[in-house]
Symmetry: C2
């Protein structure tokens, strides 16, 4: 997009590494306070330990805590002011992963067994509950009025996550989900916590309402772009990169955004696609390739790619209209592009 020298000078991976290094000690300290069982399961889930007790090989990219730290810098505060927020959003993210893996029946995450698959449903429910409660404790311990506002924002976000996941579960039983319903679901499941992550540092730093709102818009739009790209990768992604089986979202007949678009706006290809979706059963890889072709012929691939680009433009516009220092601005833009500009 722009050739802003500030943005080009930012190495998004280095930003993520720096932020993860800043957050991990506080995150570990928080998790250490959990009851024995929750601590063990959360440590495994976060990639800190393996099942045999050896140290783990690390977890995810920790995008949400990075956004939270930069968000405080965006409000002209030391990024450490965003630290409780960074820990809290990461805890909430993992609370939702633990519960979602159970609800979705997923036995693997990043090539490792999920907590419910290893320890049972009660473990995943309870450890998730504990992480959610811990997120609020970590935020509220700072004792500032800003922290209370941040905690309120976080609680509202959890309800958005719940709404999105409830819709996701309900959509599996329906064959008439519209594109706008699907977008609203993604806004809940993916957009809401990224929006809050990008805003919570500013809230903790007492940033202006305008700045906080702009950061929230940025995070929400990046979240939508991310989900659109994720859905594209779920069909056309390289298994070696995504870590998922080839054509995985078609295999599970998921009503992802490109599929939903093609069903509703894809003419004859869309009608063929809809008929296939309505007849469950296993499918061969050649058949799945033919179905991917229908999603493409029905315009789902192009639409999702264009919509992802449009969302990224909106995200960057939200930042462009806000007052924040050059460095966090450049880091946010670079981070957003890094997340979304994956091969698809």
């Amino acid at each position: 997009m722009s050739a802003d020298p500030h943005i080009d000078s930012v190495d998004a991976r280095a930003v993520l590494d720096r932020c993860r290094d800043a957050v991990t000690p506080a995150l570990r300290e928080a998790v250490a306070r959990l009851d024995h069982a929750s601590r063990e399961q959360a440590g495994y889930h976060l990639g800190w330990t393996e099942l045999d007790g050896r140290p783990g090989t690390g977890g995810g990219k920790a995008v949400r805590p990075a956004l939270a730290l930069i968000s405080a810098a965006a409000a002209d505060a030391p990024s450490s002011v965003g630290l409780p927020g960074a820990v809290a959003v990461e805890l909430v993210h993992n609370f939702s992963l633990l519960h979602d893996d159970l609800m979705d029946g997923d036995t693997e995450r990043r090539h490792r067994r999920t907590v419910w698959a290893q320890w049972g449903a009660a473990a995943a429910i309870l450890t998730g509950d504990a992480l959610l409660a811990l997120a609020h404790e970590v935020l509220l311990e700072t004792g500032s009025p800003d922290a209370a506002r941040a905690a309120r924002l976080l609680a509202a976000t959890v309800r958005e996550l719940v709404r999105g996941q409830a819709e996701d579960v309900a959509f599996e039983q329906r064959d008439d989900v519209t594109v706008s319903e699907c977008l609203a679901m993604a806004a809940g499941k993916t957009g809401s916590l990224l929006a809050t992550s990008a805003a919570i540092g500013s809230v903790l730093a007492g940033g202006s309402t305008e700045l906080t709102a702009a950061l929230q818009s940025y995070g929400a739009e990046v979240g939508m772009a991310f989900q659109l790209v994720d859905d594209l990768l779920g069909i056309w992604g390289d298994p070696a990169v995504t870590g998922k089986p080839v054509l995985s979202d078609l295999r599970s007949r998921k009503m992802s955004l490109p599929v939903t678009y093609a069903v509703h706006h894809g003419g004859d290809a869309g009608r063929q696609l809809a008929r296939w979706l309505a007849t469950p059963g296993p499918a061969t890889e050649p058949e799945l390739r033919r179905i991917a072709g229908l999603v493409e012929d029905g315009g789902g691939r192009d639409w999702a790619a264009a919509e992802a680009r449009r969302r990224m433009t909106l995200a960057e516009k939200a930042l462009a209209g806000a007052e924040l220092p050059d460095r966090p601005r450049a880091e946010l833009v670079a981070l957003g592009r890094y997340l979304v500009d994956r091969e698809f």
Copy 2:
């Protein structure tokens, strides 16, 4: 116990009714904000609606919200100051019921189908999560520093609930659970939220640290007494009163407090009891009656009754040592006695 004229003048049931009337509108208003699915399921779970859409016949006694309102009065504030706390503790209580019913595989609660049995596991998980988040929102919306302290207390309490439930689940796989482990589990599952309910109004009203701590002790001890009595009723309670099958806790071979006591301190009867517990399988009612006799011969019944009385004395002592107006003091004592002085 004492013949205090203040206490004798309090009708505990009238106090509960008054408090429920005060809390219900705010509770309904909060639940109305939930996403569609959570709202429907929470409304059913709370006894406000039946499955066919008819109005429900009401929920439980709403003990926790009553304690929260009286707690504010104990700190010399209008009980309405405790209202967000009352709503929050009732939401947290129901969050834990929704999740526990699923984990415990209970298909009925108060002769009605549980949410997971009716709508599936995902529904119970998500509606529980939503109620927990909503509890924090309701508290934090008041925007006062006291509210932030109350929310922090509530989050710590949720972690105690989680610890207690995790231990309860783990104990099912063990045959060597000690009485003190069993007491610690009950302190988490039952004591912690009653302690917080009895203290949260004072926190919201800016009550002194001493008063809040005394109220917390009172609630914690009442909670333990309540659990001990509940365990006694689980063996010797009248099914017509408890709503559970006769001898239900023995039928499920639950390591309740009287059973655990008898196993460890009951001599020969305790050893016979332990052998029976170690051999699973269905049991006839005469056999269960014989087992109840072993718990009694092993001292489990007398110990639990004495321990419940001791806990009530501690609860009332905690209040006696604190400064609070006569009316809330009398109401708290009366409420505690009402909860615990059931037939056993």
